[in-house]
């Protein structure tokens, strides 16, 4: 990357360290932190949407829809989430390829044959000849969908509880004013539920941050992947030979997560304060008294 780093074997000390930390592989490592942030940026709103749908379905007056919502919410309880992660990634992949095979392959044979899953080469997603980038992107997309489904169920649970926590009298008053069911939902229920949902959503956000290393399990080249790759001992055959430094790389990841969760904690506390203004809750009352 830099002129001075052209021959790493001839330099020592701080400049060696500088060259080492700016090597091409390390730059990839730094970019992979963005992968984690990107995952969070996509997953958070996606699971919020999924959760909203789930909670609304669970509240539905149509029995099958409400069962569907409730089953979705209860599904993730009692079962370790990592099982869902491992399951969904393969199941989604196979489901997509099976669906594609029905269209592009002739015959459309049942793909689960004995010990393997076999679809015609044209039905592979992405195609075997695609660029590595697409394989990575597809893996990332599967991960995002899996995260959204699993976390969506948790969000749905929080929002379902928050919707039930909005005082009945508020909704009844709105009905008395002649609002339709949809109007009550949009104008009264949704704006008021956030303050009740926020503690739960904040907790979920922290959990979501701490779930991101699971990307590694899903085969995405994330920060855990690079920490293992870069930290492993390198022989003289490498440009920058060193011993087993994985401990230091993982310490770095640990600090990254601690700083990230701490900042989030402070941010959530501020948001809670803002949302509590003027609310008929203990938090809102405390703010009112402090101001008076």
């Amino acid at each position: 990357m830099f002129q001075a780093c052209a021959d790493p074997k001839s330099i020592e000390g701080l400049s060696w360290l500088f060259c080492y930390l700016t090597s091409a592989k390390h730059v990839d490592f730094y970019w992979s932190f963005l992968t984690v942030l990107l995952l969070l940026a996509i997953t958070a709103p996606a699971s919020l949407g999924m959760g909203f749908l789930g909670a609304t379905a669970a509240r539905s007056h149509i029995a099958p829809v409400s069962w569907l919502g409730k089953v979705y919410i209860w599904m993730v309880r009692g079962v370790p989430d990592i099982i869902f992660f491992l399951f969904f990634v393969i199941a989604l992949d196979q489901g997509i390829e099976y669906a594609k095979s029905l269209v592009v392959c002739d015959g459309g044979a049942w793909p689960w044959q004995g010990m393997e899953f076999r679809v015609c080469p044209a039905a592979k997603v992405p195609l075997a000849k695609s660029a590595p980038f697409w394989h990575q992107a597809y893996g990332f997309m599967l991960a995002v969908i899996t995260f959204a489904i699993v976390f969506g169920a948790f969000v749905a649970n929080v929002i379902y509880g928050a919707m039930n926590a909005v005082p009945r009298a508020q909704l009844e008053t709105a009905e008395a004013y002649g609002m339709s069911r949809g109007q009550v939902f949009r104008r009264i229920l949704i704006p008021q539920m956030w303050v009740y949902a926020l503690p739960g959503l904040g907790n979920l956000w922290m959990i979501l941050i701490k779930a991101t290393p699971l990307l590694f399990l899903l085969g995405v080249k994330d920060i855990v992947y690079y920490a293992r790759e870069l930290g492993g001992s390198k022989t003289q055959a490498y440009e920058y030979p060193h011993g087993d430094w994985r401990l230091w790389y993982f310490l770095g990841l640990m600090v990254f997560y601690l700083v990230f969760t701490r900042i989030s904690e402070i941010g959530i506390a501020r948001l809670t304060r803002r949302l509590s203004h003027g609310q008929a809750t203990a938090g809102g009352e405390a703010l009112r008294k402090a101001a008076a």
Binding site: G78, P80, G231, M254, L258, T261
Partner: protein
């Protein structure tokens, strides 16, 4: 050579702890094999969960108390301990612990003429248990600390009016009330600790001689058969049973902790989602 289901159970029911058939099935996987081997793996999930919770409970109490201490030399380390274990992913904690334990000298350490063997610490049964123990202690300490702070003021004043002070007040009033208030949340912590035990063989700690937990075997079958629709639901089934069992046991304890209260003021256990840590 096909085995009856009973033969399969005899061969593989204790496979995860190294008893029975040495070779894992390699072809013609039956439903019975999958149920048996994955069930065999549950032994490890139970081992990690039960021991981590049992030891962690005591450490959690100590740390919850340390967090309320006025002396910063006691309070600060407790706060940092909780912050580090709750603020970082368990997944990373496993990796970090494994790398740190691997760095211990292979031949063992000589301290004051006593030779300490270190190789066993990198094994999952010891190393991963240590991480889970510290992790659950941190989460439970936060729960108990919160409970300690929300003990009604009146209860403490009443205790003092009866002449209870210091240690006596703590052991007879504060501690039981803390447990009672914190128990529903602690039940959830126990459930999610059991769930967290599935991470052990997916992070730093390797499974020796294919002796792993339930998810390890489920993953083995899913890899071999390319069919996730059978092994993963089987693990899910086992864990739902385990969750019900934990809820039942902790519910009985909760009942006992609340036995002196009128039925309408008892704290009920509600399952709260708090998946990965």
């Amino acid at each position: 050579m096909s085995m009856t289901c009973w033969e399969t159970v005899q061969a593989y029911a204790l496979r995860s702890i190294g008893i029975g058939e040495n070779l894992l099935p390699r072809s013609e996987f039956t439903l019975c094999q999958q149920f048996t081997l994955i069930g065999s793996g549950m032994i490890w999930n139970l081992y990690f969960g039960v021991l981590a919770l049992a030891f962690g409970f005591f450490l959690a109490n100590a740390i919850a108390l340390a967090k309320t201490a006025r002396n910063p030399w006691i309070r600060k380390p407790a706060e940092w301990f909780v912050f580090i274990f709750r603020g970082s992913p368990l997944f990373i904690q496993f990796f970090l612990a494994y790398e740190a334990l691997v760095m211990l000298p292979k031949g063992g350490i000589d301290i004051l003429g006593v030779h300490l063997n270190t190789s066993w610490t990198t094994r999952a049964w010891a190393g991963a248990l240590l991480v889970l123990f510290l992790n659950t202690a941190a989460y439970a300490a936060e729960i108990f600390h919160g409970a300690l702070k929300s003990i009604p003021k009146g209860d403490l004043e009443a205790a003092e009016a009866y002449g209870l002070t210091g240690w006596k007040k703590f052991i007879r009033i504060e501690w039981p009330t803390m447990l009672r208030l914190g128990w529903p949340a602690y039940t959830n912590e126990a459930i999610f600790l059991f769930h967290a035990t599935t991470l052990v063989y997916f992070s730093g700690f390797p499974a020796f001689a294919q002796k792993g937990d339930a998810l390890y075997y489920a993953n083995y079958f899913a890899d071999k058969t390319f069919n996730p629709f059978i092994p993963y639901p089987i693990v899910a089934f086992y864990f739902i049973c385990l969750t019900l069992l934990v809820t039942f046991v902790y519910g009985r304890i909760n009942k006992r902790l609340n036995r002196h209260l009128p039925s309408n003021t008892r704290s009920k256990i509600r399952l709260r989602p708090q998946l990965i840590r």
